[in-house]
Symmetry: C2
Subunit: 176 residues, 2 copies
């Protein structure tokens, strides 16, 4: 995997793809599926996300203050759904679903080897967690897999229905 | 336009489409383009969004506590970009870009007649505005246009590049 400039991180998350969120606690890694996230700042990249306190990952994220946001391409969709339908309370999802936990550089949470992008994050602000389960994360280090060319992401519409990226549209714009 | 059940609102925003945000202040409507938003709660639907305080809409949103989130289909993309590249300080964007401001039911901000979905919102929590320009909105009323069948949404990847919805993928899932 290759380093991605932090200034480009928003280009990965702003389109709203389904992502995986990994944590590690007491040497045990876990991974969940997440769609409730948004950019908050370009650089350093701040990302807000909602992690339900019913999720096993919630307590690990709160306790360790670290996670990885991994972005899966369309081909991983079946595994993404399996990850979303299981709990780390019951099983080791990396092992059961055949996903590769790759050591990260800045955090204990692992990268997901099969994902085309991985963002190492620390919790920058936990002040809104109590009210909305909303974490503000800072992306410390970003990776992309150059072997995955033009990956198409998936966008959850509820109940296992996903819109897959189709055509790209390029319009003249002053917007970053 | 037809009423959409509030319990289904997340299905519109969770996929991460580019949206328009309208406001109205002192009888003058404005509209901006927005991609930094996410769901926070299913029902009543809470939506978080970041509106830069450099945007003309910011002060209207803060002062009135009301807005509409309108979701454009792919065919509106050229207008969406124009809206994003202009400021309501300088022009009446509805008039200049030929968009129809339709009176809403619960808020003073207008619906956008050309959009396939419109969500009337009030600011539910402005406590995080100072720190991150982050508003928590509650959706009070949701509309869809049944005449627009299977609208494809657009997802901004930066600098005027958008991924347009392609194929739909339906997987067996327990996830809402």
């Amino acid at each position: 995997m290759k380093t991605l400039a932090l200034s480009k991180v928003y280009q990965l998350l702003e389109p709203g793809p389904v992502v995986l969120l990994t944590t590690a606690r007491a040497g045990r890694a876990n991974v969940m599926t997440m769609s409730w996230h948004m950019m908050v700042e370009f650089e350093p990249p701040l990302v807000a996300c909602v992690v339900s306190n019913a999720n096993h990952s919630f307590s690990a994220l709160r306790a360790t203050g670290e996670c990885v946001i991994a972005i899966p391409a369309r081909t991983l969709a079946p595994k993404v759904v399996k990850v979303g339908n299981a709990s780390g309370r019951d099983i080791d999802k990396f092992a059961v679903f055949g996903m590769t936990a790759v050591p990260a550089e800045r955090v204990a949470a692992p990268l997901v080897g099969e994902c085309f992008a991985n963002l190492e994050c620390k919790v920058a602000d936990a002040g809104i967690v109590r009210k909305y389960n909303l974490f503000v994360l800072e992306v410390l280090k970003a990776w992309i897999d150059p072997a995955q060319k033009n990956p198409k992401t998936i966008h959850h519409r509820g109940y296992g229905t996903f819109a897959v990226d189709g055509k790209m549209l390029k319009l003249k714009s002053k917007m970053r």
